[in-house]
């Protein structure tokens, strides 16, 4: 009967431990700390090497008599334990324990931060021209990809340029100074079916403080782009309609993950197509009475590389996923 209150009090004290203390997995807990106050095995970490000591030095990990160990982590609470019952006083020097090498299990391939397989990726982005010094073709775009495997996706993307084409003032300067008209082209829209392959992934430590994950991918496909010439040779008589042309594309991209479902993307994509340019001959000599004849408006076809940078975000759906193996 006399022992019952003691047992109840100890049980009450134990019940005050928060459930979170049990959150760590069993395996991890066992690896992190030996059970029941056992000393760490001598062959684990650097501490074990110093266990024999030299010249009367104390083995690493043991505390000289009279010193209160763990004062820096436990504060006065653990110090009190040592004063009350030296037998229950912890024998570990936590500073030295922290300095030990961890004998953690390293896997050949650690878990990827964000799995892509069987997930849909939605990429809204803004595109801008990288290689057209005469007309800039910025515009919004949207890409949709489905990852068949973790590294391979099929998808489509759509670009809309029409209200955003920007004719550079440089063109007017050349026309005025050199009296040379440069055939110009504006874009309406572009669409393509693509394959995406992700050969590279990695992680960066930022300022030695936080870690973010990234991957790099290549993308390529086929589709169409709708373009038309901006009339500069004979703007009084010529007006052009947008026409879709077959377009191939290839590019590389870089994706930085903020969460397992949200990332920023930077992509450089080359859209390759055969463009119909304005005829730089006004056909005054060949057809002086027929400047409105559309057959004379178009000149040579030109293989065009429209290289554009695409900056946007990637949203992976579903937001969550499960790893096949625990680690």
């Amino acid at each position: 009967m006399k022992k019952r209150p003691i047992g109840l009090l100890v049980a009450a004290a134990l019940c005050m431990c928060p459930a979170g203390a049990f959150a760590q997995k069993k395996g991890d807990a066992e690896a992190a700390a030996p059970a029941d106050g056992e000393e760490a095995p001598a062959d684990e970490g650097e501490g074990g090497e110093g266990a024999e000591g030299e010249g009367g030095e104390l083995p690493e990990g043991e505390i000289p008599e009279g010193e209160v160990p763990g004062g820096d982590i436990g504060g006065e609470g653990l110090g009190d334990i040592c004063e009350i019952d030296p037998a229950a006083c912890p024998k570990l020097d936590f500073d030295k324990e922290a300095a030990k090498d961890l004998n953690e299990q390293i896997y050949a391939v650690q878990q990827l931060y964000a799995l892509r397989v069987r997930r849909v990726e939605l990429q809204p982005y803004w595109a801008t021209s990288l290689n057209d010094q005469f007309v800039n073709h910025p515009g919004p775009g949207l890409a949709l990809n489905y990852y068949i495997t973790n590294v391979l996706a099929v998808g489509a993307n759509f670009n809309y340029y029409r209200p955003f084409n920007a004719d550079s003032s440089f063109n007017a300067q050349v026309r005025r100074a050199a009296r040379v008209g440069v055939p110009l082209t504006e874009y309406d829209w572009g669409a393509a079916l693509n394959f995406t392959y992700v050969p590279a992934y990695g992680k960066f430590a930022g300022f030695g403080d936080f870690i973010f994950h990234y991957d790099a991918y290549v993308v390529g496909g086929v589709g169409a782009i709708s373009t038309r010439p901006i009339p500069v040779i004979d703007p009084d008589n010529r007006t052009f309609d947008f026409e879709p042309k077959l377009a191939f594309n290839a590019g590389i991209g870089f994706r930085v993950f903020f969460t397992r479902w949200f990332a920023a993307i930077l992509e450089v994509r080359d859209y390759i197509f055969s463009d119909r340019l304005e005829n730089d001959d006004t056909s005054v000599l060949e057809a002086p009475n027929d400047p409105l004849n559309k057959d004379n408006w178009y000149g040579d076809n030109s293989l065009t590389n429209a290289v554009q940078a695409q900056l946007g975000v990637a949203i992976f759906l579903p937001f969550s996923f499960e790893y096949r193996l625990p680690k």
């Binding site: 009090l9 004290a13 928060p18 203390a21 440069v182 030695g208």
Partner: protein
Amino acid sequence: MRKTTKKTMRRLLVGLTAGLALAAVGEQTASAQEILLTGPLAGAPAVRKLRLYREGRIEVAPAISFTLLDEYQRTMLFGARINYNFTDWLALGVWGGFGGLKLNTGLTDRVQEVNQSRRDIEAQRPAGSGPSVSRRLTATNMGPKFEEQIGTIDWIAAPQITAVPFRGKLALFQNIYLDTDLYFFAGPAFIGVSERKECDPDAGKPCQSDDQAAYAREGRVAIAPTFGLGFTFYVNKWNAIGFEWRGVPFARNTGGFDNHGGGPDSKFPDQKVNADDRDFKFNQMLTLSYNFYFPQQYRVSE
């Protein structure tokens, strides 16, 4: 009996204190990660055993740079970057290059083609009929050889400071693993440019001539900010491949034309070629480099 009671009381106190101590620690250890933070990993750095590829090392990086979005001429600059890395995240050095290869764009070829055909037609005109309209309107702007009057970038030297805030690793095909870093740099750039030399008919320097001499270039040094970012991919302990983008914004007259100086807001030609005719241009280039680090051995962090 009294001894036994004292012992029991002591054990009770020990038990209670230990329980309360656990509870106090447990208040802050609601997740497994935080248990580690207060356990053996307490105070440990975010990355242990980090290979300090830069700290205390000199970087010598032969490099080739390609200009982007050029109007009349593309330039390949051959040079090098030399940095001394005070720490793994801070370096001071210089980058420079010589414009060893200059390639005309399609626009330059087209302008010259039109220019030459005009001159050919001009030569066939009857004597005394005077120059054609096109020839008269372009006489200030174009000499016999247009490609010899366009502005060029001849060399660049830029002392710069480099910060390396991001350090990481890259897996290629789940087979090749590389250490990488991402860095940013900035500094002043001294740019040797050649532009069409200034001309002013009022000052006895004619802008129009049948001779190329009136359209010849002369050199000057422009000073501009330069900045950019780059990736380093470490191949081994003292070699790396570098890839960087650089911006060097400054004003220059790329075509040798008389574009500004007259009319409202000086937006129209004034029949002179001078500093007013320079347009602000956001010059950009991509650089590929192969980096060597000395001493050849790096240090490893704790």
